[in-house]
């Protein structure tokens, strides 16, 4: 039964993808959603079943067939279902299912309706396979596959130049990360001769320290790409060009978590390399505050959320890096739900105002779209760490992990980032829903979204509120910690006992969050003129943040333009100039020799005779030269 479930979970969406993709355009058209949603719904149910089985203590490790067998290089297609998988499955299937439902309303009337659902199905398939796979190569394969879906969905509205660019950019930046990932996998293979999780982790102790650091850093490079960590974060904000359900599903709740999943999955490897762990924590923390600082000043509603996602992913890596493995996964789950919710809400807002995404044109929408507003607020509170909601527990466990692990500097930075998070989230809420409508035209047309969109919002709001209570209590020894214990058993630090200090920390982070919300209220409700003044006050910083620290421009100047120039140079100068020049030149050379010899063929008989005499003489000279 478990095997069937494991098989069906990915295959149903795949089948739906194939059928919808092939026949959607001609036959399904506006009815494409039925099959797709049904497939994902069944997958969701089966996932719940699997999770329950795992909860009961069942595990599954199953080699389906030998995929690649070339000499010593043998990789199977196989499934591994354990606690970590179950946790991922929970997020992926639930948010996936909700996003499918949501898309029915959101994408209604779009020319590529069938295509959208087909792609979503393909994504679900790939994502399921990614988390269900039992070896590194499968992880890599479906890692790329989800990247492909991301690419297809970002550039879904391909006629827009910006969407097309964003898709390509996402794929390419991910490829840069995968470059490392791939090399890491090869290094694992060359070192251990196997790629299956069990084989690698069992033998992880045999790897030399330098090699293991190299492996971990290379793998982490892949994670940086997929999970949008600095400096490979640049694709995620642009990815917002895709339809909002995509942003919610792929670029907030599931795919971008793959990097976190991968590091968590490889914990036995990372655990052995202090350097790698530190790098993970460092990159995570830096990204957390870096992205948050950009999020502070963005005006596009989805961009704010995108930078927020980058920042929150940074938290997760920070947690993993300091050894708070379960905390990281906890945050992943919580974030998956509330960020999925937030994106869907933003989609609902955008839907309400006919596609406008600039918050400066919104305002006062709270009365018009009540359900959206309230679910949005729930999500925002959750991410801001409002006591009791999901984000509070998860973020706190991350920060506590950092503090208790002795990384007080990461903790401090994380705390500042948390403050920023609260600030920009409520900046978003206030600018969008409060105050006066800034664009009356948009405002007057605004309307609540259809039920297919609001129900997922409500459904997702529930875990955003409750999941912390369910999974996270008591702190550091909550359900999720115990649940994941078998996975992280080997890499666990010394036991830590929840004490007074922790309560203090908890209070501090709650206070920071509330302070952020308050400051946002001051800035955007109480004294709306302040932001501009403040912006002017820290002119350079403000400008830098607004321009995302010119990272894109730097990449263009440092990599993209030089690469193109190099390509052009190689083509024009080396290919056409030198190589072809040599080829054509040698042809000309032989013609030239002919031209030199030509005068001898003067047509004059006596010249011919003379050249014969010269030839005779020359032969004698050759003889003499050779004998003497």
């Amino acid at each position: 039964m478990m095997k069937t479930a494991v098989l069906l979970i990915p295959l149903l969406p795949l089948a739906s993808f194939i059928i919808t993709g092939l026949f959607g355009k001609r036959y399904f058209k506006e009815k494409s959603q039925y099959l797709s949603v049904a497939a994902v719904a069944v997958s969701w149910l089966l996932s719940i079943y699997l999770i329950i089985q795992v909860e009961r203590g069942e595990e599954l490790s199953w080699q389906v067939y030998s995929w690649i067998a070339a000499g010593k290089f043998k990789v199977d297609i196989g499934f591994l279902v354990d606690q970590l998988t179950a946790v991922m499955l929970l997020v992926v299937s639930t948010v996936g299912f909700m996003v499918h439902v949501y898309s029915i309303g959101y994408m209604k009337g779009d020319g590529g309706y069938y295509r959208f659902f087909a792609y979503l199905n393909l994504f679900m398939f790939s994502m399921f396979m990614l988390i269900l796979g039992n070896n590194f190569l499968m992880l890599y394969v479906f890692w790329e596959a989800v990247g492909l879906c991301s690419y297809l969905l970002i550039s879904f509205w391909y006629t827009k130049q910006s969407a097309a660019n964003a898709g390509t950019k996402a794929f390419l930046v991910n490829r840069v990360g995968d470059f490392g990932f791939g090399l890491g996998i090869m290094l694992i293979f060359v070192t251990l001769g196997t790629l299956s999780y069990s084989g690698v982790f069992e033998n992880a102790g045999r790897i030399g320290s330098g090699t293991i650091t190299a492996i971990c850093l290379l793998l982490f490079m892949g994670a940086m790409g997929k999970s949008a960590q600095f400096p490979l974060h640049v694709w995620l904000p642009d990815a917002m060009e895709g339809p909002t359900p995509v942003s919610s599903l792929i670029h907030a709740a599931t795919m971008v978590n793959a990097g976190v999943y991968m590091v968590a999955r490889s914990s036995p490897l990372f655990h052995q390399s202090h350097t790698a762990m530190f790098v993970v924590a460092l990159v995570g923390t830096f990204t957390a505050i870096f992205a948050a600082s950009i999020g502070l000043v963005q005006n596009d509603i989805k961009k704010v959320l995108a930078y927020s996602t980058v920042s929150q992913l940074g938290y997760m890596f920070a947690a993993l890096g300091v050894g708070a493995w379960a905390a990281g996964m906890f945050h992943l789950v919580a974030h998956g739900f509330f960020k999925g919710l937030l994106f869907l809400c933003s989609g609902s807002v955008i839907h309400a105002v006919s596609g406008e995404q600039d918050m400066r044109k919104m305002g006062g929408l709270k009365n018009k779209i009540k359900i959206t507003y309230w679910t949005f607020v729930i999500g925002a509170l959750a991410i801001s760490g409002f006591p009791g909601l999901a984000g509070f527990w998860s973020k706190d466990s991350v920060l506590a992990g950092a503090f208790n692990g002795g990384y007080w500097y990461f903790w401090l930075v994380g705390l500042i980032a948390a403050f920023m998070t609260a600030f920009y989230m409520f900046r978003l809420i206030f600018m969008t829903f409060h105050g006066k409508p800034r664009d009356v035209e948009l405002y007057s047309h605004a309307h609540e979204s259809p039920r297919s969109m609001t129900i997922p919002l409500i459904v997702l709001a529930i875990p955003s509120v409750l999941i912390g209570l369910v999974l996270g209590l008591p702190p550091e020894d909550g359900h999720i910690d115990r649940f994941l214990e078998p996975v992280f058993e080997a890499v666990k630090g010394e036991a830590h006992h929840f004490g007074a200090l922790d309560v203090g920390l908890m209070a501090l982070s709650a206070g920071i969050g509330l302070a952020g919300i308050f400051l946002a209220w001051v800035f955007y409700i109480k004294r709306p003129e302040l932001p501009e003044k403040a912006g002017a006050h820290v002119g350079v910083l403000y400008k830098a943040a607004l321009n995302k620290y010119w990272i894109d421009e730097i990449y263009f100047a440092l990599f993209i333009n030089p690469v193109r120039a190099l390509g052009r140079g190689l083509w024009r100068w080396v290919d056409v100039g030198i190589i072809d020049g040599f080829v054509n030149g040698s042809a000309r050379f032989f013609r030239g020799v002919g031209m030199v010899l030509r005068p001898a063929q003067s047509g004059k008989i006596q010249a011919y005779m003379f050249s014969m005499l010269l030839g005779l003489l020359a032969l004698l000279l050759v003889y003499l030269a050779l004998t003497i």
Binding site: I68, A70, Y151, Y158, Q161, F171, R175, V563, G567, I579
Partner: protein
């Protein structure tokens, strides 16, 4: 002297090799209506494809010995015999050849206007040459087929090509011929050196030559001569410049065969001759070849990135992809060799398909300039779907054929030298860059001209030409073992052959790279 292996009851290799040539003669002499000679061509290539499937069916995939042996004396006073036999590598490539030959018939059904009859005849002769190379087990025969395939291709480019076809055809011929002549001398040299005494007949039989030993100096020189001939075909940097010209000017079907099969002949030759005959030299020279391969990978990709002509872009991408072939092969381990062969196979499918699609696009738009395209996914959704499929497969998307080969060949290279594999991996990033950027510029963004909506999307004929390639690409990606099984025994045999020499390898460059490898 006579030898015939009763594996299937009739000399299938001879039939599969010469059937197309007979078909070509029939086409030339029948001189029927267009549908008659096209029908003959289709029938002959179809039967040949079925024969290749039969061949695979009866092929024993668990042994590395040569199978379906046919051996008859030919010019006995010169030690030349008509000797055909295949192993897994040959069988795989024969299948690829017959498949692509079959596909180009419907694909160019309406493409050629002028001297159509000769066009189809030329293709049939070409097929004979190509299959013959894969079957030949006698060096002399190998060379004969090697050259025979040159001529029809020369005509195909020169007669039915684009505006600069003459330059391209001559360049193609001279590049290849230059390599061939060196090979010819090397063939002669080793055939005479392998004799038991100065008055014995020379040895052209590969079976015997593989057991002969040559002095190190002879090995190096002969290896280089062979290698240059094959490197031109592959083509390896810096011997590649004929390729873009030939591809741009060749008619669609010509490009398909050129990229799909002819380039593979180079890689095949390296596997069939360079490594088994000169193992000692291979081990010593491999590092240099790997450096060239890596240059090819990165260089081809970089140049591809800035191409303005769609066909040229695909052509340069071939340079890059074929770099993975040589990189895998000369990593000199079984994973790399199998990877190299898989890249050959998959590149045959994918680049063949890409060229077909460029051709189909050209038939609609009458241009190949990328800058004149854009937004074509709107009017041509089916085309866009196929295009994206093959572009993605070509950039090595896992689950499709491109990935398996490239990854294996990189693993092989990684085993050999880590820094080299790292540099080669850059090629994968760049592959994504040039293909996606191309796809974006062609299919995405705004449509230039609304009139394209009046042009029909892919017809059934075109879909039928592409679909088999797509199916095989998925097959080779999802269950590559079907193909890996075929090439495993021969690849294992090759590595065994080299094993004794690997230990004592010690060229300067290799030592440098080995020491660099320590950094990782």
């Amino acid at each position: 002297m006579y030898e015939f292996q009763e594996q299937i009851g009739f000399p299938i290799l001879t039939v599969i090799t010469f059937l197309p040539a007979l078909g070509g003669l029939a086409v030339l002499f029948a001189r029927g209506k267009p549908n008659v000679y096209k029908g003959i061509t289709l029938a002959v290539t179809g039967v040949n494809f079925l024969l290749s499937l039969v061949l695979i069916q009866y092929f024993d995939r668990y042994t590395a010995t040569m199978q379906f042996v046919e051996k008859v004396p030919w010019i006995s006073s010169l030690g030349i015999s008509y000797h055909m036999a295949v192993d897994g590598i040959s069988v795989l490539l024969i299948m690829l050849t017959t498949l692509l030959s079959l596909i180009i018939v419907p694909a160019s059904w309406n493409y050629i206007k002028d001297r159509e009859l000769q066009f189809f005849a030329a293709f049939l002769f070409l097929e004979t040459g190509l299959i013959g190379v894969f079957c030949a087990r006698d060096l002399f025969m190998f060379y004969v087929f090697w050259e025979v395939m040159l001529i029809p291709m020369y005509f195909i480019i020169g007669v039915w090509g684009g505006p600069r076809r003459i330059y391209a055809a001559i360049k193609f011929f001279l590049f290849t011929f230059a390599g061939s002549l060196l090979m010819l001398i090397a063939i002669v040299a080793i055939a005479y050196l392998a004799r038991s005494n100065p008055f014995a007949t020379p040895v052209f039989d590969m079976d015997l030559l593989e057991n002969a030993t040559f002095s190190y100096q002879v090995q190096v020189l002969a290896f280089l001569a062979f290698f240059i001939a094959f490197a031109v075909k592959v083509p390896m940097w810096p011997l590649h410049t004929w390729l873009p010209d030939a591809h741009v000017e060749a008619p669609t079907a010509g490009s398909v065969i050129l990229a799909g099969v002819m380039l593979k002949v180079g890689g095949y030759g390296m596997l069939r001759l360079c490594i088994p005959l000169f193992p000692d030299a291979v081990v010593a020279i491999a590092p240099y070849i790997l450096v060239l391969s890596i240059i090819a990978i990165v260089y081809g990709a970089l140049v591809s990135l800035v191409q303005k002509d769609l066909k040229k872009l695909v052509a340069y991408s071939s340079v890059s992809h074929m770099g993975f072939v040589t990189a895998g092969i000369f990593a000199l381990n079984i994973v790399g060799i199998e990877g190299g062969i898989m890249v050959m196979f998959s590149h045959g499918l994918l680049t063949g398909a890409l060229f077909l699609m460029v051709g189909f696009l050209y038939e609609r738009l009458h241009t190949r300039e990328i800058s004149e395209m854009g937004g074509l996914a709107g009017p041509f959704p089916v085309m866009a779907a196929f295009f994206s499929f093959f572009a993605l497969a070509s950039l090595g998307l896992p689950g499709l054929s491109g990935f398996v080969g490239e990854f294996l060949s990189l693993v092989g290279l990684f085993t050999y030298s880590k820094p080299m594999a790292a540099v080669a991996s850059i090629g994968i990033i760049l592959a994504a860059a040039y293909l996606l950027w191309m796809y974006q510029r062609v299919m995405f963004t705004g449509l230039r001209d609304q009139k394209w909506y009046k042009v029909p999307d892919y017809s059934l004929r075109e879909i039928v030409s592409l679909a088999p390639l797509g199916i095989l690409a998925v097959w080779a990606g999802v269950y590559p073992n079907t193909f890996l099984q075929l090439i495993q025994p021969p690849a294992a045999r090759l590595t065994e052959k080299m094993a004794p020499y690997m230990a004592e390898s010690g060229s300067v460059v290799e030592r440098i790279f080995a020491s660099l490898g320590g950094l990782f």
